[in-house]
Symmetry: C2
Subunit: 378 residues, 2 copies
C-alpha cells in the first residue's frame, strides 16, 4: 500500500464535506433547489473577494477567466502593460496578443518580484495605457507580486484597469479587491478553493463595466455582460457547473467558519514552516523575494536533478509535488501549502523530501527539516 | 420524505459507478496516473463517435464546444447555412453572428424537422457556402434532424463543412461521424454521457483541420489546433477537468459494456414507450415529425398550463422535468429518457404525469398511460 498525498499547486485535495456534497444526486440548474445554492455561493465569493461587486462564475478553467478578463474590457490596439515573471505572466502576454492588444512587457527575472517603481516608470513613459496585467502569485516561480503597491501605482499614474490573476493566490493571500482598487480579479476552483478544476471566478469593478460598454472584441461563451445579468438572477447564461457550484458552497462555508483572517494566517504559517524547513535541510528557495504563501519553489541541491526529486517523491513516497517549468525545469520542484492543507501535510512533505534526498545520495541530516517545521508549528 | 427523480434533458442522473470514481481523492492532471485515464477516455470517445479522428475534450459546457466549432474553422464573412428549428438552432445563429459569419437561416417551424430537399434548394441557390450548422436533436422541441440525409445533401452540393450539435443526441442516437461525413460534432458531458456539466467534446474531420489552417478568428481558450497536439500526448492545453474525465471513463465503460447498438435500442424503446403512453393518456406530442429518442416534448391538455404541470410534477411528486421555452412556454413540458435511464424511470414519469393531471382536475384515466408503457417494456 502506498498512500497518496497531493501537494501540487492545483488541483489541490478536496475536503470530505465538499466531496460528499458533490456526490449527491444531480440536480437541475434551472430548478428551484439550485437557486439558494447559487445565491449562497455568490455571497460567499463576495466575502472572499472582499468586494461589493459581483463575482461571476464561469464553467472553464482559470485560463478561461483570464481570457474573459481580456476580451470583455479591451479593444484591438489597446496598450496593455503585462508583468511577466514566469509561465503565467507569459500567458497574459499570449492572451493579450491573441486579441491584438498592444503589449508593453515588463520582464521580471524568474524568482524575483516586480519592483513597483519600475511599473511607475513604464506608466510615466507610456500614455493611454488601458490595462495592467499581473499575477498575485506567479505559480511557476512561487513569487508574489505586491498587488497593494501595484494598485496604488496604477491608480496614481493612469486610468488603466488593474487585472490580477489570483488563481493560485486566492484564499492563501489577503487580496482586498475594493480597498486596493483591483478592477478585475480572476480565480479558479482547483486551488485555494479546494475543488476540482472547472470553475473560473471573476470580479469586475464598476470602472471595468463601463469599459465593457465599448469593448468590441468578439466573444460569446465568455460574455460577461450577459453573464452578469443572468447571475444577478441566480442563473448562469448556459448550463451551470452544478456540481462545482455545490462544492464551492461547501468550500466557502469551511472558509467562513475558519474566518478569512485565520485562513490567511494558516497559509502564512504553513508557508513559513515550509521555507524554514527547506533552509534547515540546506536547500535554497527559488523565490528570492516575496515568496508566496500558496506554493514554495525549492532549488534542488547542487548536482541533483529537480525532476528526479519529483519522480522519487511520487513513486517511492506517494507524494505528488510539481516540477519546474521551462527555464526552471530540473532546477526546482514545488510544494503547495494551499487550500485543504494543515501542519501534518507540511511535515509529510518535508519528511518525504528528506527521505528522497537520502534515497538520491544527496547530503541530508534526516529530521532536521521536520524539526524546524515542528518548532514553528507547535 | 419526497424522493427526487431527475427527468430533465440535462443534466441527467449520474450512475453510482461514475459518482464513486469522481469521489476518489483528487489527482494531478500532469502526473503519470492521469495518463492512462485520459488515453482510455480518448479511445472510448472515438468508439462512441464512430470515428478514427480525435475527439477533443474541452473544459466548458456544450456551448463552449459550439463556439469552438465556429471559431476554429471559419472566417469573417464566410457563408454559413444554419438550420433553426428551436432554441439551439437560434444559438448557432447567435454564435455565428458573434464571429461575423454571414448566416443564411433555414427557419424550421417549431415541432417540425428540416426537409433535406429544402437544404438542397438553399445550397443550390448559394455558392461558396463554407459551413452547414444543425442540431441532431433540437432539445427545445424534442425533434431530430435527419443528419444522415443532411450529410448526403451537403456532400452532394458543396464543399461546406457539416457541423452538428449532438449535445442532446449523443448516446441516444446512432450518429456515424465518419460513415456519414460529419465534419465537426459537438457533445457535452451532462446528457447521454451521464455526467455533471463541464466537459464539451468535439470531433474534427481531416477536411475541417485543413480549413483550420486558414481560420483567422481570434481565439485562445478554445484553440483546437493547440488542444489536438496536447491531447495526442494525453494532456490538455490548460488544466484538465480531471474529475469529469475520470467520470467520463466510467460512463464510457458502462456504454461499452452494454454495447453501442444496445444503448441506441434502449433509448429507442424508452422513447417509444413514452410517446405511446402520452398518446394513451390523450395528450399530444409536440414533435410532429422525427421525435427524438433523448427527450419527449408533451403538449399540455387544452386549458392546462404546461408550466403548472412542471410545477406539480416537481413539488408534489419530486419529478424534475423541463418546461417549454419561448414560443413553447406554457404549451409543453419535456421528459428526458437519456443516459442513465431505464424502464422504471419511464413508468415513474408516466405515473407522475397521470397523477399530476388528476391533481389539476384535467381528464385522465389513471393507469392508462402506464399500461401502454408496460405493454411495450415487458
Amino acid at each position: 500500500m502506498l498512500k497518496k498525498y497531493l501537494l501540487a499547486p492545483g488541483p489541490t485535495p478536496v475536503p470530505p464535506e465538499a466531496l460528499a456534497a458533490m456526490s449527491m444526486p444531480m440536480i437541475h440548474h434551472r430548478a428551484p433547489d439550485f437557486i439558494p445554492i447559487f445565491e449562497a455561493a455568490r455571497a460567499g465569493l463576495k466575502n472572499l473577494y472582499q468586494t461589493t461587486s459581483d463575482v461571476l462564475m464561469l464553467c472553464s478553467t482559470g485560463t478561461g477567466g483570464m481570457v474573459a478578463a481580456v476580451t470583455n474590457f479591451f479593444n484591438h490596439g489597446d496598450k496593455a502593460i503585462v508583468v511577466n515573471g514566469g509561465k503565467f505572466g507569459e500567458r497574459w502576454i499570449k492572451i493579450c496578443q491573441s486579441f491584438k492588444l498592444e503589449v508593453i512587457e515588463i520582464k521580471v527575472k524568474w524568482g524575483y518580484t516586480l519592483n513597483p517603481s519600475q511599473l511607475e516608470e513604464v506608466l510615466k513613459n507610456n500614455s493611454g495605457v488601458k490595462g495592467v496585467f499581473v499575477q498575485a502569485t506567479e505559480t511557476s516561480t512561487g513569487v508574489n507580486h505586491d498587488i497593494e503597491a501595484i494598485a496604488a501605482v496604477v491608480k496614481k499614474h493612469s486610468d488603466a484597469l488593474l487585472v490580477v490573476d489570483a488563481i493560485s493566490s486566492l484564499v492563501a493571500h489577503d487580496l482586498k479587491t475594493d480597498a486596493w482598487g483591483i478592477d478585475i480579479m480572476v480565480g479558479g476552483s482547483q486551488k485555494g478553493l479546494m475543488l476540482p478544476p472547472g470553475l473560473a471566478l471573476i470580479s469586475v469593478s464598476e470602472r471595468a463595466w463601463k469599459m465593457a460598454e465599448t469593448s468590441k472584441i468578439e466573444k460569446f461563451y465568455f460574455n460577461l455582460k450577459t453573464e452578469r445579468k443572468k447571475q444577478q438572477d441566480n442563473q448562469t447564461n448556459f448550463t451551470s457547473a452544478v456540481t462545482l457550484i455545490i462544492g464551492l458552497n461547501e468550500s466557502l462555508k469551511i472558509i467562513q467558519n475558519e474566518g478569512l483572517d485565520n485562513v490567511f494566517k494558516r497559509h502564512a504559517l504553513l508557508a513559513h514552516a515550509t521555507r524554514e524547513a527547506v533552509k534547515a535541510i540546506g536547500m535554497g528557495l527559488y523565490a528570492k523575494e516575496m515568496p508566496s504563501n500558496a506554493v514554495t519553489a525549492i532549488e534542488a541541491p547542487a548536482g541533483v536533478d529537480g525532476q528526479k526529486i519529483y519522480k522519487i517523491l511520487r513513486e517511492r513516497y506517494g507524494v505528488t509535488a510539481a516540477g519546474g517549468q521551462d527555464e526552471a525545469k530540473g532546477k526546482i520542484f514545488r510544494i503547495a501549502h494551499l487550500g485543504y492543507s494543515d501542519r501534518f501535510d507540511i511535515i509529510t512533505a518535508i519528511a518525504a523530501i528528506e527521505m528522497t534526498l537520502k534515497t538520491l545520495g544527496a547530503p541530508v541530516t534526516l529530521g532536521k527539516g521536520v524539526a524546524a517545521c515542528e518548532e514553528i508549528l507547535a
